[in-house]
Subunit: 206 residues, 2 copies
Amino acid sequence: MEGKRISMAVIRRMPRYYRYVDELYQNGTARISSGALAAKMGLTASQVRQDFNCFGGFGQQGYGYNVENLRASIREILKLDCSHKAIIIGVGNLGRALMTNFNFGQSGFALAAAFDVKKELQGIQVAGVPVLSMESLQDYVEHKRPDIAILTLPRQFASQVAADLCKWGIRGIWNFTGVDLHLDGLEVPVENVHFSESLMTLSYRI
Amino acid sequence: MEGKRISMAVIRRMPRYYRYVDELYQNGTARISSGALAAKMGLTASQVRQDFNCFGGFGQQGYGYNVENLRASIREILKLDCSHKAIIIGVGNLGRALMTNFNFGQSGFALAAAFDVKKELQGIQVAGVPVLSMESLQDYVEHKRPDIAILTLPRQFASQVAADLCKWGIRGIWNFTGVDLHLDGLEVPVENVHFSESLMTLSYRI
DNA sequence: TAGATTGTTAATCGATTAACAATC
DNA sequence: TAGATTGTTAATCGATTAACAATC
């Protein structure tokens, strides 16, 4: 149940559980045991049960887990039905790739607006989302109150923009800039997607 | 100091160390202590020393670490001077974004070719890299022997293409498709970049 | 009921932190 | 030499795995 702090290790496994459980659900599979799910995912049955029990028992002895219920529970935990509002800062290749390809709805978000310094982008739409000026960012964040900001702007502007966004009331940052954001003291969670760290790890391993 | 297996936790911290140490190097800083580096990075001095000692002591008692040597050692560990050859499969928005924006050289790679099913892309160049047909992939991998493949193709083709690439001799996979690749038995390392898992984690945390 | 499988406690394993002798 | 800081061993902490009573 709530109360006890849930470790990051567990939290980071939840989206992966969701992916597998959702697949079972789409298949029409009605139930799954911790052992069978563990085998599919390359985990131990013990870990699966421990993980789910962090959030309260949604299984049933002698039966296993009802797939539909389990899926609904994970959706609730991850707040996937929330339709949180997101904005994206920086409409370069990467920003555009996310706007065009990425299914935000699937993760519980809706992309509401994009921002870029380039005059020629301002006013156009990308994948149905309007691109606004950086000058309008403060007003937008303070009044429209988006939940998260996606940083796909050049690294040298990242920390200043992140600091401003936090000051203006953003609740979370999805950081693609490759720099660490030191949001001293602030309680704003940051998720980093650091391509080069990932590739360097692969370089080590081959 | 090879011999002992180095844990993934340590390996994944190395690129981050490199980032900080490289910054010190670019600044002209000559030396750094484990304590000072730990403070910058939000780690403990103990952890910094333990991590570096996995690869052999490159510090000096009473002095700390020589930044230039430390940087060179990490570059060597991560094989950043190697110029490994990479190919990219799928020249959609994401593939194009990586080709255009990402500094492969910085991570020890050179992007040699791209592959796509779309006829209209074949023959063109993107960021100076030729786009070839999927039919030519087998021959290319078997003869040009690239080290890694970057998967930026639609998820439904991911596991088949990954299996083929392994069969043809690829040494590593950088996987952006959002599906888990089950390369049964094979020794090919896979690094996953799963956007939706990262965003769902953020959704949980806000 | 008997068999299956959970929820949960206990045991193990690994990673992080602390301590300190070695030494520059 | 005295002060600083490493390399490394020992202690602690947390996460994973195993075991098993509860129970569907």
